[in-house]
């Protein structure tokens, strides 16, 4: 049995070597995509377009504006004298935020009275707006002692501490998810298409005529892809560590084990899909829809699962990337061992087993 599987594996590898497109997709694509998106994607908001409405025209108001600009988060786009003039700036997107300083601002401060600043935000991008508001609050809080010449201490202060990613850099949190996303999409698509192509060309028939059992055929067919995909996973993770400063705090051995289980599940899914589709066009559509969208949206890669509505939280349990991303972040960023992520690993094993079983049953039936 082993000999037959090996023979099949060698045949597939030879074929893969000639079929540079599939091999290239599996090997090169993840690395190229990681390079591009690793740099491009970020939630760290900078260059916020700020309009200023200074009705106070005082030294205090100028100091306030200055501390917004010198914070490094804001870029000054306009100074206007009238809040009405803000409308076109916000409608066209020329301004994202506006600081309105009331006429009585300087007098209030001089008289030691409390005062207020109005902060107008474009809420159409809600995520960015929340972040900007957070920055503005910090800046205003830091302004008080300088303007009032007194130390104001709130009755309950907070000593914030951020573990695992002290600067809250979004790349450290996004890149592991990105690796999981890219690996899933490329493996599912490449395997589905490779098998369906064989069906379309009719070479599946000649394989059937060989003394290979269905299970041997399946293993022989997926093993080479697993090999290539593992190589590309190694490349992507190395890149994440080298270029994007993603620390690897946990064990590399466990990381490899988790990655192989995850890839095996993805390959199994690809083989399963290939038994459903007759043409490459349909195969590609279902491979894309079933791998890319769930992995992008329901895995916790970008959108937090705990904030989703209940039915979606339930559905997210059948998305393998959910477990892989959780485990990946725990191994890579938190440096913890299996005692913490064993349930994620178990879920990945279960997913892989079920999918491979389905793929085997379907293949046996179609042969």
């Amino acid at each position: 049995m082993i000999r037959r599987i090996l023979a099949m594996t060698v045949k597939e590898l030879l074929q893969l070597r000639r079929d540079w497109r599939t091999a290239g997709t599996l090997l090169g694509m993840p690395i190229v995509l990681l390079l591009i998106y690793g740099y491009a994607l970020s939630f760290d908001v900078r260059d916020i377009r700020l309009a200023v409405v200074d009705l106070s025209h005082s030294r205090a108001s100028r100091d306030t504006v200055q501390s917004f600009l010198s914070s490094g988060y804001f870029r000054h786009v306009a100074t206007i004298d009238d809040t009405e003039a803000l409308d076109p700036l916000f409608d066209s997107g020329a301004a994202q935020a506006a600081l309105v300083i009331p006429a009585a601002f300087a007098d209030d401060i001089a008289g030691g009275r409390t005062t207020e600043l109005k902060f107008v935000l474009d809420g159409s991008d809600s995520q960015t707006a929340s972040t900007i508001l957070g920055y503005a609050r910090q800046i205003v809080a830091s302004l008080t002692p300088g303007l009032y010449k007194v130390e104001v201490e709130p009755p309950i202060g907070a000593a914030p501490l951020v573990w695992y990613n002290p600067d809250l850099k979004s790349s450290i949190f996004l890149v592991p998810g990105l690796v999981a996303f890219i690996l899933m999409v490329t493996t599912v698509i490449a395997t589905t298409l490779a098998v369906v192509r064989e069906k379309e060309r009719g070479t599946m028939e000649s394989l059937r005529a060989t003394p290979l059992a269905a299970i041997e055929l399946l293993i022989g067919k997926t093993l080479p892809y697993l090999l290539v995909a593992s190589l590309s996973a190694t490349g992507s993770l190395t890149l994440a560590w080298l270029l994007f400063d993603v620390p690897v705090r946990g064990s590399i051995g466990w990381l490899a084990v988790l990655t192989v289980i995850y890839l095996a599940g993805g390959l199994g899914w690809g083989v399963f899909l290939s038994t459903l589709a007759e043409s490459q066009q349909v195969a590609f559509q279902i491979a894309l829809l079933s791998s890319m969208l769930p992995t992008l949206l329901l895995s916790g890669f970008v959108f937090p699962i705990s904030s989703m509505v209940q039915p979606l939280q339930v559905i997210s349990h059948i998305v393998p990337a959910r477990y892989f991303i959780a485990a990946l972040r725990e191994v890579v960023l938190k440096g913890v061992g299996p005692e913490v992520w064993w349930n994620d690993a178990l879920a990945l094993v279960a997913y892989g087993a079920v999918v491979l079983l389905l793929a085997t049953i379907r293949t046996v039936r179609s042969l």
Binding site: M29, L33, A40, L41, D44, V45, R46, F90, D91, T114, T115, L117, F119, V120, D122, G123, S124, S126, Q127, T128, T131, L133, G134, R137, T144, L147, V152, E153, P155, I156, G157, A158, P160, L161, V162, W163, Y164, N165, P166, L168, K169, I172, F173, Q280, V282, L288, L289, L293, V302, F303, P304, S306, S307, M308, P311, L312, A326, R329, K334, V340
Partner: protein, 364 residues
């Protein structure tokens, strides 16, 4: 004109004959929109909170209640020692921890300022950042309830979306993404399928000009895209309750140039690829994924490095997402959004010309 109508009818008949393509075209978008509309939310709610109360007093319990009583936090555990927090944060079972020090009630009673500790899980930077800022807001509210006011109060006024509901922006963008995927995929198959099946020669010996063939290919797909929008739009408006503050006419006027772009891109791919598989690969990796990521749909463009910001100027989805934001949430019309419309029109024209040149040089 007659020949054009003939080829249109032929294309539509061909679409109808593939039994698997129709459900993909019409049911899938609505299902996707419903699921993705719910999934694509950046609202952070119910952040898993671990509380470590070392004071065990009425004052500390009131503080804890202020956290657990808000929809931003969901308490997962109360631990007795801050060492126990390691496990909860390590395993991601808790995303944020509140440590109330011993002596908290005494400080409060004596009117002395006191400090509590907040620990955030930075491995999920989004939840961590927002969780910290919600926690600080909660502390401030507790202080204000006790009569404290910061000398300078920041009064936020959020335009267009006062409750900062991310769904209002995300759902129209998901619609845009689905329309793009469908129309681009269909048209990328258009010519290459004929060449693969060997029917391209037959088409070429008909009296049709290359231009007529191309138009005949594009118009049916534009129709399909329009029908898709019309089926999906009620879901956006009535199911998700996204406000449409602008006019449907503006929406239509900006959707047309966007579809011109996506269909032309598909067509260009169709002239570049030799097999359907190549066509799909090129569409997905060269045109689709970059558009999704570089459009500002999920990741704000202003956060990108300068060079990527430049690239986004040739991404049609960028303009369409801005246009949708304008029409749905801001209620503005073409007087504000004409640059976006013009940019898409220009991009569409350039890409279509390229595709026609490629096609002509291929058949010639």
């Amino acid at each position: 004109m007659r020949t054009l109508i003939n080829i249109l009818v032929k294309e539509l008949l061909q679409l109808r004959r593939d039994p698997k393509i129709l459900p993909i075209l019409f049911i899938a978008p609505v299902v996707q929109l419903t699921i993705l509309g719910y999934a694509a939310t950046t609202d952070v709610r119910r952040v898993e909170l671990a509380i470590c109360d070392l004071d065990r007093s009425a004052a500390s319990r009131t503080l804890a209640d202020a956290f657990t009583g808000s929809s931003y936090f969901r308490q997962v555990v109360a631990v007795d020692s801050s060492d126990d927090l390691d496990f909860w944060l390590d395993s991601s079972r808790a995303r944020i921890a509140l440590v109330v020090p011993a002596g908290f009630a005494a400080d409060r009673a004596a009117g002395r300022p006191t400090t509590v500790q907040l620990i955030a899980d930075g491995s999920d930077a989004m939840v961590g950042t927002l969780g910290l800022s919600y926690a600080q807001g909660t502390l401030q509210r507790v202080a204000e309830a006790g009569g404290f006011r910061l000398p300078i109060e920041l009064r936020p006024q959020v335009r267009y979306n006062p409750d900062l509901v991310s769904r209002y922006f995300m759902v129209p963008a998901v619609l845009a993404m689905i329309i793009m995927i469908m129309t681009m995929m269909l048209s990328s198959m258009a010519l290459v399928r004929e060449s693969e099946n060997g029917t391209m020669e037959q088409l070429l010996v008909t009296p049709l000009s290359p231009g007529a063939i191309i138009t005949g290919k594009l118009v049916p797909y534009a129709l399909v895209g329009t029908v898709e929008i019309l089926t999906a739009l009620p879901v956006v408006l009535f199911w998700f309750g996204v406000p449409l503050r602008g006019s449907l006419l503006t929406l239509a006027a900006l959707t047309a140039p966007f579809m011109l772009c996506t269909l032309s891109i598909g067509l260009l791919v169709s002239t570049l690829a030799r097999t359907q598989q190549q066509a799909m690969m090129i569409t997905t990796f060269v045109f689709m994924m970059p558009q999704i990521y570089l459009s500002g749909f999920i990741f704000p463009i202003q956060n990108m490095p300068r060079i990527f910001q430049m690239i986004t100027y040739v991404v049609p989805l960028r303009y369409y997402v801005q246009a949708l934001r304008g029409v749905f949430l801001k209620g503005v019309g073409l007087e504000v959004l004409w640059p976006q419309g013009l940019a898409m029109l220009g991009l569409g024209a350039v890409i279509l010309t390229l595709a026609r040149l490629r096609f002509r040089s291929q058949v010639g």
